[in-house]
């Protein structure tokens, strides 16, 4: 177990580069940043606390002594985050257990290997909270005049680890439970990611709602709504692990008398945590060993069956005659995205986070700014239109990697292939536009006059965005990049476009979208709706020109890449 832990930690916190000539060297900054960032952040926090806390110590002390459980909501939120995150991590760790085969064949019990992986997950989950919490408690305990205040630091570390152990183990068990119910490695990953993404989006939405509604109603106090919500959900209950962390660590900080209830809850939660983590490793072993996670093969018979298939005819846009290359490219892109729930969830729902920023101010200010609410919502369409173009024509072009190089060597018309990728984003942009249009109609029925124009504009904006993204991908794409939307420890989305290409592919379509769509609408508002429809063809033509210009450029650039470097 210790060997496994050492190997996992060494791999993550490797400071020196490997020596060999074939090794892809990582820059010093990248290697050192794993250590440097937490140290700098913690140091800054500690300095801040030491500088400020002495001035307000009396206030802090009296506030803590009257509200020992005040951190309960925060710590229970940490518990919830660990729980939700671990559903996904359990999916990727056990789901990817075939990638650990070199370990599974060693003379170590499988459950020990899974236990070690769970401990690593607990460790990484707790790092960020430790990075914030330890300097805070250390700083306050230095300022505190009480003899045992310094003990609040180890108390915080131990109770936080117990809390995260419970969260991670519970999340892992839920993930495995889902695996049992819907047997199959692929299903496990898909469901884990879908749950994770949906919860993350709902979480951010709640946060924004609370931010905006509180800013408007009561002044700048964005946390109240969240705390009210936490209270109503029982998050501040004394029976929760979060309350125990808060009560024990803060109690030591202000010299509160020890209560037997605290000791009892720490012991109970410790036993619960250890029990759950062991159960988690046992169930992980069963999931792998029994074959729950076997691939989702549809074969049920040993008899040789020659299946009959219908005529191959990938659908394109109704009424449009497109070449085989374009339709094949569209089919390939949509199919490869559709068959990976991780990808489709992130692609389809990803722009929502940004859109919410645009929509919610309008909703929050309600009647005060009633007239412009619908414009805010319409503005939210632009991130969808541009993002889908970027994802389907930019990212997917790069992720296709070797296949693109094969096509290049096979002398495929790459301009047409790129166009297929651009077109593949359009149905998604249209569906998103229709959904947003319905919301606009519900809020402000009079806006209907602008909706057809916005719908058409967004479809063409999506294509222009796709063309621009494809061109940037051809220029600055990392064609060796994996489509790792989520990595083992839940790292965030990694763009496969390098440097300025990534920035240009994102920002230029936004600028065009906002200038164009809002220009059309403002013309309608100030001069009459007919002006909107007069500008529409100009905007459509402009977008179409951008699409054809950049898809041609992208095709040419792709044809000039030295394919042998990637094959």
């Amino acid at each position: 177990m210790l060997l496994l832990l050492r190997e996992d930690l060494t791999r993550s916190f490797r400071l020196r580069n490997a020596k060999g000539k074939r090794t892809e060297k990582r820059g010093l900054l990248k290697r050192v940043s794993n250590f440097a960032i937490p140290v700098i952040v913690s140091g800054a926090l500690l300095w801040g606390v030491l500088a400020i806390a002495p001035m307000f110590w009396d206030l802090i002390e009296s506030y803590i002594s009257e509200n020992l459980g005040m951190g309960a909501a925060i710590f229970n939120a940490v518990l919830l985050i660990s729980f939700i995150g671990s559903i996904m991590i359990s999916a990727t760790t056990v789901g990817n257990s075939s990638k650990m085969e070199y370990l599974l064949i060693t003379p170590i019990k499988m459950r020990t290997i899974f236990l070690e992986k769970t401990i690593i997950i607990i460790f990484y989950n707790s790092l960020i909270w430790m990075m914030i919490g330890v300097p805070l408690f250390l700083g306050l305990s230095i300022v505190s005049p009480f003899a045992f205040a310094l003990l609040s630091v180890p108390a915080f570390i131990v109770t936080l680890l117990i809390l995260i152990t419970i969260g991670v183990s519970a999340g892992g068990l839920v993930g495995l439970g889902v695996a049992r119910a819907v047997a199959g490695r692929r299903a496990l990953k898909q469901i884990g990611t879908a749950i994770m993404s949906a919860v993350a989006i709902i979480g951010t939405t709640l946060w924004y709602v609370s931010f905006y509604t509180n800013s408007w109603n009561d002044g700048p106090n964005p946390f109240d709504a969240l705390f009210d919500l936490a209270d109503s959900l029982g998050f501040t209950s004394i029976l929760t692990p979060g309350y125990t962390v808060s009560s024990v660590s803060l109690g030591l900080l202000i010299g509160a008398p020890w209560r037997w209830q605290d000791l009892l809850s720490v012991s109970l939660f410790l036993v619960l945590g250890v029990g759950m983590v062991l159960l988690n490793s046992y169930v992980s072993e069963m999931a792998h060993y029994s074959g729950w996670l076997a691939s989702d093969a549809t074969r049920t018979s040993k008899e040789a069956i020659r299946k009959e298939h219908g005529t191959w005819n990938p659908r394109s846009f109704p009424g449009l005659k497109l070449s085989n290359i374009v339709t094949a490219s569209m089919w390939f892109t949509i199919t490869s995205v559709r068959r990976d729930a991780r990808v489709i969830t992130n692609y389809l729902l990803g722009p929502i986070r940004f859109a919410i920023w645009l929509i919610l101010p309008g909703l929050a200010f309600g009647a005060e700014l009633g007239g412009i609410t619908s414009y805010f919502i319409l503005a939210a369409l632009i991130p969808f239109a541009t993002s889908y173009g970027l994802y389907f024509a930019g990212y997917e072009l790069v992720y296709e990697g070797k296949n693109i190089m094969n096509l290049q060597l096979a002398a495929t018309n790459l301009e047409e292939y790129v166009r297929g990728k651009v077109y593949s984003a359009v149905p998604f942009a249209i569906i998103a536009s229709i959904i947003v249009s319905l919301i606009v109609l519900f809020i402000s029925p009079l806006m209907w006059v602008y909706l057809p124009a916005v719908l058409v504009a967004c479809a063409f904006l999506c294509m222009a965005s796709g063309g621009i993204a494809a061109n940037e991908a051809a220029k600055g794409g990392d064609f060796k990049a994996d489509r790792s939307i989520t990595r083992q420890r839940g790292a965030s989305v990694r763009t496969p476009l390098r440097g300025w290409s990534s920035i240009r592919a994102s920002l230029v379509p936004y600028a065009i979208g906002y200038a164009g769509v809002f220009g059309m609408i403002l013309a309608g508002v100030f001069f009459g709706v007919l002006y909107t429809y007069a500008i529409l063809p100009v905007f459509v033509l402009f977008c179409w020109r951008l699409t054809t210009h950049y898809t041609r450029k992208a095709g040419l650039k792709l044809a000039q890449i030295d394919a042998t470097k990637y094959l």
Partner: protein, 254 residues
């Protein structure tokens, strides 16, 4: 020694392996042959303790794979068909890490063994490179080093020589012959029938999860009514190409 007794594995409704029984003796190379999807890898994974048999049992050097899997694993070495290795380790680090896990004492002798195996397999030059930079053949070679470093008495090799250069393949063959002479039990699957014919003492042919024939080359020839090469024997037992379909295709494409 490997003893498989009535091994069966069922995935949902799909019977991957059905009542499979065979035995591989010390000092013997046993070749497991079969068409794609016939159950060879599933059988190996059950023997390695990676998959739970639905029914039946197996023993590795006397250790039951259900009851004493850790003891069984201790005497086994395995090279998978497609090794998945820790990409962020160098080859040298990986072998030392695996040696530690197998409790091979850290000693000059261990260093020499690793160096010797790496030299033999022509990967010494890349030993300081990260595994993520290795080619398929190099990954397979480093997997073989990892499988041999604890001096196993039972070796399970899944398509060992696929994707290996001729010199590497010849070296591997000599290593396996040497290990056999020293009494190792070797179970290997391969699609290269020439290798099976030359190297294996006995061959088991598996089709649709069932062992349909087993024996030395002579015994298989007798069973296949005088077919002389292993390829002919294999095709006569598992079914050859559909000549009618081939003729139809060639006729249409001409």
């Amino acid at each position: 020694m490997i003893e498989a007794m009535e091994l069966t594995k069922v995935f949902n409704e799909f019977i991957a392996v059905r009542n499979l029984s065979f035995q591989v003796n010390p000092g013997e190379i046993y070749g497991l042959l079969g068409p794609n999807g016939s159950g060879k890898t599933t059988t190996m994974r059950m023997l390695l303790g990676l998959l739970q048999p639905t029914a039946g049992s197996a023993r590795i050097s006397g250790h039951d794979i259900r009851e004493e899997i850790v003891a069984a694993k201790r005497v086994m070495g395995y090279v998978p068909e497609e090794p998945v290795l820790p990409e962020r380790l160098t080859g040298w680090e990986y072998i030392h890490y695996i040696s530690d896990i197998w409790r091979v004492p850290r000693s000059p002798e261990r260093e020499d063994d690793i160096q010797e195996l790496m030299n033999l397999l022509d990967i010494s030059d890349a030993s300081d490179d990260l595994i993520e930079t290795y080619s398929k053949g190099m990954s397979r070679k480093i997997s073989l080093v990892a499988a041999l470093i604890h001096k196993p008495t039972v070796l399970i090799l899944d398509e060992l020589q696929a994707g290996i250069d001729p010199r590497g393949a010849a070296t591997m063959k000599e290593i396996l012959n040497g290990l056999r002479e020293r009494g190792a039990t070797i179970l290997m699957s391969t699609h290269i029938l020439e290798i099976a014919e030359r190297m294996c003492d006995r061959i088991g042919i598996i089709d649709e999860g069932e062992l349909i024939a087993e024996g030395t080359m002579e015994e298989l020839r007798t069973k296949a009514k005088g077919q002389s090469s292993l390829e002919e024997i294999f095709l006569s037992l598992t079914g050859g190409p559909d000549m009618q379909l081939i003729a139809q295709y060639l006729g249409e494409s001409a």
